[in-house]
């Protein structure tokens, strides 16, 4: 079966997200002063052939560990549907 995978990657808490900080500052400058904790991350989407959802999740996790995320600085979250 072909499944849709979505991987969300963000800098870990504790790693200063300079882009997030800049966006937060810009939003504040535009009047959205109630905004806090902006994080800029990335989302990857792809199709994946796998026997079932669980197998797909295992594969995607391996991809994250190997290439898609740098676990020294980044955390990731996987959605497979």
């Amino acid at each position: 079966m072909t499944l849709k995978a979505k991987v969300h990657i963000f800098l870990k808490n504790g790693v200063l997200d300079v882009q997030g900080k800049a966006v937060e500052g810009a939003l504040g400058g535009l009047g959205w002063t109630d905004v806090s904790n902006v994080r800029v991350g990335k989302v990857l989407e792809f199709d994946l052939k796998a026997s079932d959802k669980s197998a797909a999740e295992t594969e995607v996790k391996a991809m994250c560990e190997k290439l898609l995320a740098n676990t020294v600085i980044e955390s990731y979250r996987i959605e497979v549907a």
Binding site: L16, V18, Q19, A22, K66, L67, L68, N70, V72, I73
Partner: protein, 223 residues
């Protein structure tokens, strides 16, 4: 000296590194394509050059670190071969796990190209033994992701082991502890953001990168 400079798709300081090694040491340099599964034999130095391997897409150095040739570089590192990663090369070495830490987006979010003043924190490495008693040295940098980061424990161990080789006098990128370059625990793998390959003769504005290559040459002579 027998050296190899790796070439990834998007490397753009590969020739600079070759010329720098040749000019400063008179050594022989082979260019090694990233798809190679074997390195030339008898290498004294492997240079992982700067540039934008794979366009800096995904994360700087991430895709290059998975190249076939990097498995061979890891083995060479294990054998004690000197490995020098400059700029994108530093990023690749961190991504491949040969060096601790990671390089984040510059604190100012912009690419910065400028001359950089560095202190030499450890003059006893194989990369710095030929430096004299100069207080600081100058090289240029050119990067958008030169903001070195390591978690507290890793940082502590890097500092405690004397692995910090260069520090910025004025930190342009936001690096933790002003770190500009580090070696691995064994001391044979150096990663640095500033470019000794652009500072190896006075015409280029600085020759302060030349002693780095001379140090490696000295290592051979003493061996």
């Amino acid at each position: 000296m027998k050296a190899a400079v790796l070439v990834f798709p998007g490397s753009n300081c590969d020739r600079d590194c070759k010329v720098a090694v040749e000019t400063t040491t008179g050594g022989h340099v082979d260019m090694v394509w990233h798809q190679e599964t074997a390195l030339p034999s008898g290498l004294d130095l492997i240079v992982v050059p700067g540039g934008f391997s794979y366009g800096d897409y995904l994360r700087c150095g991430a895709m290059a670190s998975q190249s076939p040739v990097m498995a061979e570089v890891a083995k060479a590192a294990e054998r004690g071969v000197s490995i020098l990663g400059i700029c994108n090369g530093f990023q690749i070495l961190c991504e491949s796990g040969l060096l601790p830490g990671a390089l984040l987006r510059n604190a100012g979010l912009k690419y910065i190209c400028k001359p950089i003043e560095l202190t030499i924190e450890n003059r006893n490495t194989r990369f710095t033994s030929a430096y004299g008693d100069e207080q600081t040295i100058w090289m240029t940098q050119g990067n958008a992701d030169g903001n070195f980061f390591a978690d507290a424990d890793t940082l502590q161990s890097i500092e405690d082991n004397g692995q910090v080789v260069f520090r910025y006098v004025e930190n342009p990128n936001g690096s933790i502890n002003n770190i500009a370059g580090i070696v691995n625990k064994a001391g044979n793998v150096l990663g640095m953001m500033p470019h000794p390959d652009r500072a190896f003769e006075p015409s280029l504005g600085s020759a302060d990168g030349a002693p780095l290559f001379h140090s490696l040459q000295r290592l051979l002579q003493s061996a």
